[in-house]
């Protein structure tokens, strides 16, 4: 029997962008409010899961030609490098700093080095979760 999936695919094409927006908000809300790299990475991975549910693995691989094992490894590398960057300046490992800058259109923003660390955490979480889900779903 042929199954009609038009509603699921049309809804998930829009909902994926809502979930990506929430993931970006949670990522940048970190280090001052609930949120951060880990939760942002998990929500980002759930949007990938929704894409995999609505379509299939071949279509998603064609649309996003990224090896997620490589994403996880580069995330761990970014975390390590952001920790090692402090030791070059004579500070202890993983010590952080922040400053306030005046950016055009945004006004005064707080730029921290924690954001680099959180980027690495988010990339590692996305890579690991999507790799686990893809390897579980093989050969069913």
């Amino acid at each position: 029997m042929k199954i009609n999936e038009v509603i699921l695919q049309s809804v998930s094409k829009i909902v994926v962008f809502i979930i990506l927006t929430l993931a970006l908000y949670l990522f940048f809300a970190g280090h001052n409010a609930p949120g951060g790299g880990f939760i942002g990475g998990l929500v980002l991975a759930s949007s990938f899961v929704l894409m995999l549910l609505a379509f299939d693995i071949e279509t998603v691989k064609k649309g996003i030609p990224v090896d997620f094992k490589l994403v996880a490894a580069s995330g761990a590398l970014i975390v390590l490098l952001s920790g090692l960057g402090a030791t070059i300046l004579g500070e202890p490992f993983l010590s952080q700093s922040f400053a306030y800058f005046d950016l055009p259109f945004y006004g005064e923003v707080e730029l921290t080095t924690v954001t680099i660390f959180e980027t690495g955490v988010a990339l590692a979480v996305v890579g690991v979760v999507v790799t686990i889900i893809l390897s579980i779903s093989e050969d069913v």
Binding site: V15, A29, P34, G35, V49, L53, E58, L134
Partner: protein, 94 residues
């Protein structure tokens, strides 16, 4: 006044979740249990909204959003599993 109304509604949501839990335990078929778990998710989201009104805080809004997304994805995956047997397919037959 408004505080007691909110407290009573929270208690009623708890009772509703308990009744739904009975449906999960004795539910005759698998789809009954799946729909009951989805109902528990919706009740939790509503209870979270009432808690954030009661405490007059904004800290639970993120919880509501994330819980809504998780309930949506889990409902979709359960219904796809019930209908097809496979959740994530390698190649669609178009």
């Amino acid at each position: 006044m408004i505080e007691s109304i909110l407290t009573i509604s929270l208690i009623l949501f708890g009772v509703a979740i308990l009744i739904t839990f009975i449906r999960i335990v004795i539910g005759p078929t698998f789809p009954d249990r799946v729909i009951a778990m989805d109902v528990i998710g919706v009740n939790l989201i509503s209870a979270m909204a009432i808690v954030s009104v009661l405490f007059s805080t904004r800290a639970f809004y993120d919880v509501i959003l994330v819980l809504g997304i998780l309930a949506f994805i889990s409902t979709i995956s359960f219904s796809k599993f019930l209908e097809r047997g496979a959740i994530i397919e390698r190649k669609r037959d178009i």
